[in-house]
């Protein structure tokens, strides 16, 4: 009968202490909740971060609104309000001016045009009503119509959907890949590490836009494909390097050795210990990935190289290729809503990312 060594002092409990039975996942959930609340209080102290959330929320609202509107308010006018194939000619009054003196083609028409419109004896100063596209904002179309007669607001909302889809696919795939790559590289070290990092270096170097331009022109690239493409390329690149150094700092902590001594397999350690500690940083970089992905997609759409039904980039492309860029403010509804949307959407995620940076990286918090 071995005597259990009794440590000196008051370390032996007087009686059996009742340890309450609480399942592991309940505990984790509770801890998660309290951490989230604490993080939110830090996050919300950064006003710009809250602004970012507002922006993103606004576009989320738009994205959800579109199918609702299509199903309800616009259900009987689908052929007018459909963002891609809809068409509506808004009737607008234009003043007739002699040929060659048309300064603003949105509000004036030349004699020739008047004759084509059916008025055979045009006189200067006559006002003729003509169905036009693009049309400025009016009661029927809150943001006007584009050069092909499609409702801009509807297009905007549909593009929000596309943006979210793309952003989510790209960000999730990129960060999943980067987290895995980073953690594996950090954990195993050696040649696995070097080759993965060399790969990441190469990818960092690859100018992504030109490559995508070529790919986009050779193949039909849709939203999902683009998202995955961007995700994979981004995930193996710079983000992997950053997450790997984070994983490294986690790896050297003693609890990993403890886990290994206790018999944990390599995969167990990676998935249970390293990855959860890298995750906060991963979430952070997801925000920046969305920003990057959106810009890439919008730029590629702007060049007309993607097979996407509708996106903000396509809206700008339409306006530009139809020659409305130099109209500037006179045709503001063609360029500004779309351009602003891309900007604010990307900015929203960027601001959220920066605010999250303060949560994850305590050193950056303002005193």
């Amino acid at each position: 009968m071995t005597d259990t060594a009794i440590p000196p002092g008051d370390l032996v409990p007087d009686e059996d202490i009742n340890v309450p039975e609480e399942s592991l996942w309940r505990i984790r959930l509770r801890l998660f909740g309290s951490t989230m609340r604490k993080n939110w209080s830090i996050f919300s102290r950064n006003r710009l971060g809250v602004v970012g959330v507002l922006f993103v929320g606004f576009f989320g609202f738009l994205a959800i609104l579109q199918p609702i509107l299509m199903a309800t308010v616009w259900s009987d006018q689908k052929d007018i309000y459909d963002p891609v194939v809809g068409h509506d000619s808004v009737i607008l009054s234009k003043t007739v001016v002699p040929d060659g003196e048309v300064e603003d083609s949105l509000s004036q028409m030349s004699f020739t045009e008047a004759m084509i419109a059916g008025e055979f004896f045009p006189e200067e100063g006559m006002i003729i009503e003509v169905p036009i596209a693009p049309a400025p904002p009016n009661v029927k179309h809150f943001l006007g119509t584009d050069p092909f007669g499609r409702d801009i607001l509807s297009q905007l909302m549909k593009s929000s959907q596309a943006a979210f889809t793309l952003g989510v696919i790209a960000a999730v795939s990129a960060v999943t890949l980067a987290t895995l790559v980073g953690s594996v590289a950090a954990y195993y070290g050696g040649w696995i590490d070097s080759s993965l990092m060399r790969l990441a270096d190469l990818i960092l170097l690859l100018p992504l836009l030109p490559l995508l331009i070529v790919i986009g022109s050779f193949w039909d690239v849709g939203l999902v494909q683009l998202g995955l493409l961007i995700g994979i390329l981004a995930g193996l690149g710079g983000t992997a390097i950053i997450l790997k150094s984070q994983a490294l700092s986690v790896k050297v902590k003693p609890f990993n050795d403890a886990a290994r001594v206790a018999g944990g397999s390599n995969w167990h350690i990676i998935s249970r210990h390293i990855i959860p500690n890298v995750l906060p940083l991963s979430f952070l970089y997801m925000m920046f990935e969305v920003t990057g992905a959106i810009f890439l997609e919008a730029t590629l759409s702007f060049f007309g190289l993607l097979s996407i039904p509708m996106s903000w980039g396509i809206m700008i492309n339409t306006a530009h290729t139809q020659g409305y860029t130099l109209f500037g403010l006179r045709a503001w509804w063609l360029l500004f809503p779309a351009g602003l949307s891309v900007t604010l959407f990307a900015a929203g995620f960027f601001l959220i990312g920066r605010a999250m940076d303060e949560v994850v990286n305590p050193r950056l918090r303002a005193r």
Partner: protein, 386 residues
Amino acid sequence: MARYLGTRLIQMFFLFIVFLTILFFLINAQPGDISQQFTANPLIPPEAKQILRARLGIDKPLGVQYLLYIKNVFMLDLGVSFDHYPRTVTSILLSALPRTVYLFLTATILAYLVGFQTGKMTAWSRGSLAEKGTMVTSIILYTVFYPWFSLLMLWFFGAALGWFPIGKFLDPQKWFDSPYTANAVFAAMLGTMFLSGLAVGLIYWGTHKWIIEPQQRTRARRILLLLFSVAVIVYWVVSPMSVYAADIAYHTVLPVTTLTLVFYAAITLLTRSSMLETMTEDYIFTARAKGVPEKAIRDRHAARNAMLPVTTSFVLAIAFVIGGGIVTESIFAWPGLGLALLSAVQTEDVPVAMGALAFIGILALFAHLIADILYAVLDPRIRVKA
């Protein structure tokens, strides 16, 4: 230092080969082969198709094709353009290259110089109104959608205000009876830029090596820089090329400004973060304890160290600037590599598209190398082995 450089060069070389391999697979991953471009007409007899395929070298096995391809690239034989037949790809791209380099260099240098100063001063005066204003402006400029922003700039400064020409890089009417080609003038302008960089570098290195007393050194530098600037100015004033160069320069203002603005915002934000981190270091405390004045602490101690992560970040930024350059070239009709790529892609001119990609890759690698060298110069821990 030499060893560091040598290692980097070898790495660059290998990376370039891998890059070319990717390109090669890209070309060949397309269904069908290049000869089908020319032989779509069903009336062409199959023997003609065979001859064409032999000519283009596609009848050989893939491995051989690959090696031939690599060899050709290094011999700068990138094929013949489909669209601008019979101009070679290399000639097209070499004439476009200087214009892209000019855009790239000018935007990068300006953005870094101004952005670093702004970021440095903003971080130092944390919490002031100027800081908040700069931050807001920078964030706006950084997150704005670049193609849209360029369109707005083009419209506002080109059409609405009429201050600058709308695109292109020269006014054909002015060049009607010019004895110089555009590329010749461009080469002269680029040459001046490179020479200036080299001269500034030499002046600083030489005075550092041979003059010890700081006051004498500063004076010597000022005199030498002044002499050099005067020489350059005199050269350009006297040269008959200056009219044409001025025309080109006038056309560059808008595209360069647009690209620089966005890049500048990014650098400001980055410098500010880097400075904030640096300012918490112990040696800043040491400097204060030594009684170093505040401005000197900011510039000599904090900024000098904050420079290091900013230089590293340039490596990441290269892809961003190249992408931005392509958009700029497209919108402002600036005939550089980016525009060549875009138009080649739109007209399915595969050789030019691939060649342009390869050139862009080389540009990126080169920029990376320069960034590495710069970093080694700035950080003695890399340069000097303990």
